[in-house]
Symmetry: C2
Subunit: 413 residues, 2 copies
């Protein structure tokens, strides 16, 4: 290892240590950062200068209380420049949000559209249009989008969506189709980038693609109730789940864990698009639920439930019982801390939670000391888009050097 | 922090680093250990002297190949002194094994006994007797038992077995009932231990209690095929499972994960001891299987299967189909790398694996690129006892100072 490489990797590690400490303890002075991290004051000052320059931290003027010695200028994460774009393609809507480095949500956009009627290319063109509007609006707020994650309703492997049966997608290379999404404007011609320029030879991925249910669970973790051990259930046309254990998402061996919608409720039940029979989705997925209730939309269903409509109430009773059966199996396997119902199950919670609780209690109480608490998501259908943006922010904070090497987030011109 | 405490904790960390490196790279010289760990040769020599004294490493005489400089005496883990006792209480047997620091199995004992007919105190008396025989035999081999883990067929929390319905146990404090199991012989009377003696004021737990299915999965990890991503299924009177992801056991929020036996196969199926209905255990647990086949023991069942007995074959077909349904739900939730069938499913594998594969393939192939491979455990019913002993060894290697503080493992008198 050459001295220069060793120095670079040490600077990378130390920048990450300082930024993480600013996030954890800020507002905090340079002197306190030196004491906490064990780095010299000179080193801390240099690293802080880089982070200030990149717009990742800002001077607040106020030192944290209880600190010894003369008061210094305190530092905190800055929400003024670096931001992330969260995107979601779901069966019947597209959505986008912009989140800054302090995890404040700066804007949200949702567009109702039936993506089953469109080809993947058409749908991704619509995503691109929505994303560009969001990027432009973010720029008008002084923000620079440092990266984006797109949530899709199906398993994802390195930008490839193997199968999203509810969208009719099979082996769609989303990463390639959207690779120009966040491309910077073409630089002035000077013979092109030099091959020695590390940012040119190894550009970091600007766009990542991930499963909707995983991102919704991360949205609940970072923007929700503050719980760190829970199973988040995303009720959409499909039903997905994301398990968070001690603040970390459980992904399984191939990143395909949490497919609650295909847990078997009844082995000889109705056939499912997955090739199986009697999957939860056939009882409690949005389409099955609306069909059973004779309603066209979730809003219409909620209206009917409020009015005491018998068919609507019976449909929720049946869906809640099926969800309770699948969750019984999930609790036996996952042993979650809490169960959080999100997506369409959030607005339906007042009607669906009773049957879920009854079914799980009847089957879990005798063998477990405590049946996991059942809670409603405050984020509802926004969870995945928020989790998508939050994932980018968490990556930047964990490895600020990769972000800086990619050109950082220069002050908007 | 005082200088002495800082020094002690640094020595503890460094002892662990050196021991782990000997395990990973041994046989390895002191000079190579210094180079790999970044510690000075003097420090390494002192730490190695402590580990030699404790019988945890031994000089092999042969340096590892390809090493530069003059050849030194190489060091490797020693299997000659420190050992662990693995114990298991299951419904119809007790078992014990002794494993040395190199994870070699030094002895095994199994005793068939119907523990449902006995009280917890009687059963634990039998465990104590079996354990003492194993400890005595280990001593005759020059081994000193440094700790023990007991596997029980039910969820465990800090030595308390909440509920092992197949044993008829409810809230049994196994830890307390067996706390004298590995107590050292009473010391010669000299006014008793001084309260300043850290080993006297904070004795480490000599006996831990853990769930049988969790320990069986760890047994497969450490003594099995070398896989690091798998779901291990323990077929006993109950059916448990342990998920290993990247070499680590998944335990859930309360350590109760992996209760595959209570995953719902059919919601209106036969009532189960857990309070539910149609749980996997009612179709594929050892009792259900033997009852359906009209056999008294697993050995008898295997004999009939070999002879082509129709009832026996039908019973395995039905159990395998039910196991396939529960595993379909488990694959959707856990996304395991491989599925390893152990316990009684190991001897029944030739007859049960076909229906399991058919059922999972029919329901998983359309939505997943690959259905997890189905493999047979080579350990069978020994997995939990081996995992129990292996857990003690892994704790000692991870934190040798705790072991040394507890008096280490003096050369047998």
């Amino acid at each position: 290892m050459t001295q220069a490489v060793r120095h670079d990797s040490m600077r990378a590690r130390n920048l990450g240590v300082v930024l993480a400490e600013v996030r954890r303890s800020g507002p905090v002075t340079r002197a306190a950062l030196a004491e906490i991290t064990g780095l010299t004051k000179t080193t801390v000052s240099k690293l802080v200068a880089d982070l200030l320059e990149a717009g990742m931290v800002a001077e607040t003027g106020a030192a944290s209380r209880g600190e010894r010695g003369r008061p210094g200028t305190a530092l905190a994460l800055s929400g003024e420049r670096v931001a992330a774009l969260g995107l979601e393609v779901n069966v019947d809507y597209l959505s986008a949000c912009v989140v800054d480095l302090t995890l404040s949500v700066r804007l949200r956009r949702t567009q109702a559209v039936d993506n089953r009627a469109a080809s993947p290319v058409e749908t991704l063109d619509n995503v691109r249009r929505l994303a560009r509007e969001a990027v432009d609006e973010a720029r008008s707020l002084g923000l620079v989008i440092a990266g984006s994650t797109l949530a899709v309703p199906g398993p994802v492997d390195d930008g490839l969506v193997h199968s999203a049966p509810n969208l009719g997608w099979r082996d769609v290379r989303v990463g390639d189709l959207l690779d120009d999404l966040l491309a910077p404007p073409a630089p002035p011609v000077r013979g092109g980038p030099s091959p020695q320029d590390p940012a040119a030879t190894a550009p970091p991925p600007l766009l990542t693609v991930d499963n909707e249910a995983n991102l919704a669970a991360l949205g609940e973790l970072w923007f929700g109730s503050g719980r760190r051990d829970f199973l988040h259930v995303s009720g959409e046309i499909g039903v997905g789940a994301g398990l968070v254990v001690d603040g970390a998402l459980f992904r399984g061996a191939h990143g395909l864990a949490g497919e609650l919608g295909h847990v078997i409720v009844s082995p000889d039940g109705p056939p499912c698009r997955c090739g199986g029979r009697g999957c939860l989705e056939q009882y409690a997925g949005q389409e099955a639920l609306l069909r059973a209730a004779g309603a066209g939309t979730v809003e219409e269903l909620v209206g009917r439930l409020r009015g005491g409509d018998i068919a609507a109430l019976a449909a929720c009773e049946r869906a809640g019982h099926a969800l309770g059966l699948a969750l019984t199996s999930a609790v036996h396997l996952f042993d979650p801390g809490t169960i959080v119902l999100g997506g369409v199950f959030a607005p339906l919670f007042p009607w669906i939670s009773g049957p879920v609780r009854e079914t799980t209690a009847a089957r879990l109480t005798a063998i477990r000391d405590a049946v996991p608490e059942l809670a409603v998501s405050r984020l509802g259908a926004d969870a995945a888009t928020l989790g998508a943006a939050g994932q980018v922010i968490h990556r930047i904070v964990a490895d600020p050097v990769a972000h800086l090497a990619a050109g950082g987030a220069p002050a908007p011109r």
